[in-house]
Symmetry: C2
DNA sequence: GGATAATGTAGAACAAGTTTCAGACTTGAT
DNA sequence: ATCAAGTCTGAAACTTGTTCTACATTATCC
């Protein structure tokens, strides 16, 4: 069963009318647009509202805070990316190589819109408890991408899931260091490759 | 050579007079105090200024933003912690166990002041480029703590440094998930133990 | 089709981070 | 001791996220 089939895409809120769905979409589009220009700071709620032709109050009804909005934007982008990645699965021999390849592909995609990446990742790590459900959704999506890349035959063991968690931690934190200019692209690559070694360490046949 | 001997503690700015040093200290103290009460949001610049008997403008002269202030607070706390940890070095047999033990000890310390931890860690990951030097200092301190815990005889190899970087990523990100209520203490423990396995993987005698 | 509850709009108001400024105080050099 | 430069203070102003209010529009149900 894929992540999408599990309903990761739709948090099962009251169904929206068509106009509402359109508004939501306009808002997310404006958010991504502004984020692409200038990152987290450039996403200003008044501007998002104006760009998407929605009143400020309405914007806040759809997304109760700037962080909620950006996390939802990330969810949206991640879904695109998941779909894209699925089209050409990674070619590596072992799971570790495939995960590293997949994450590097995602990383290159982020490099094309570094400001957007900045806005999304900063929002994600800055999110407090009130955003937990949404952040959790993003996390599940990320996990699904990594598990997909591993291409396991059997369901993952607890150990493997731990490794995936650590990979996710490293992924987020490495992105942060890159976005804030404290690590180079090459350094991020090394970090990803290093952490992916954990996958070998936790694969059942070799343990 | 220890980290302190390298001057991690003092970024070599123009020397401060005694009164200035005292002001700086009062500010950091007020910051930690307020953070302990209510986390990131409770550290309000006007309140910090008032608590430390300093004008708002002066506070901003010492710390050019709230994030700068909290990162400096973290630096301060980390130095205490480094000193404390040195007193009783970890007892594990191999480097991996010692690092895990050290990080868990640090984690337990953070659990005693979860709000303070929240303020510091959120600031750290939210910091943008303008805070890079300060964040880097914190990062070097953390690295020093981990390397100390490893208790290596020879200087660390490039591979080992990569492992340490990944451990640091995991440490920060795991703290974030714990602070935002998305991971339990037990889960953080597992993540730390999992990532510490990388140390074995990269130790020269076993490679 | 009309009552009514929910949703959307415009805009003011509020909160907290940040900036600015005029004047008072320190400091360091002469 | 004094002058200049730099620092500190108090207070107001500005910015942007967030909340609130009064009114208009839309959706739903009979």
């Amino acid at each position: 069963m894929t992540a999408e089939a599990k309903g990761v895409t739709t948090p099962a809120s009251p169904p929206l009318t068509e106009r509402q769905e359109a508004r939501r979409r306009r808002i997310l589009h404006a958010s991504a647009q502004l984020a692409s220009r200038g990152g987290f700071d450039a996403v200003q709620m008044r501007e998002v509202a104006e760009s998407s032709s929605v009143a400020l109050g309405t914007l806040y009804r759809y997304f109760p805070s700037k962080v909620h909005l950006l996390v939802a934007t990330m969810q949206d982008q991640l879904q695109h990316m998941h779909a894209t990645l699925r089209k050409r699965p990674p070619a590596g021999d072992d799971p570790a190589a495939r995960v590293a390849e997949t994450l590097m592909r995602a990383f290159r995609a982020l490099q094309r819109e570094p400001h957007l990446a900045d806005a999304m990742v900063r929002a994600l790590t800055f999110a407090d408890r009130s955003v937990s459900p949404e952040v959790d959704t993003v996390s599940r999506l990320t996990t699904a991408i990594i598990l997909d890349a591993m291409g396991l035959e059997a369901p993952p063991t607890a150990e493997q899931l731990s490794a995936v968690r650590v990979i996710e931690h490293t992924w987020h934190s490495a992105l942060i260091t890159w976005l804030s200019g404290r690590a180079s692209i090459a350094q991020v690559k090394i970090d990803i490759e290093t952490v992916c070694r954990l996958i070998d360490l936790t694969s059942p046949e070799k343990a």
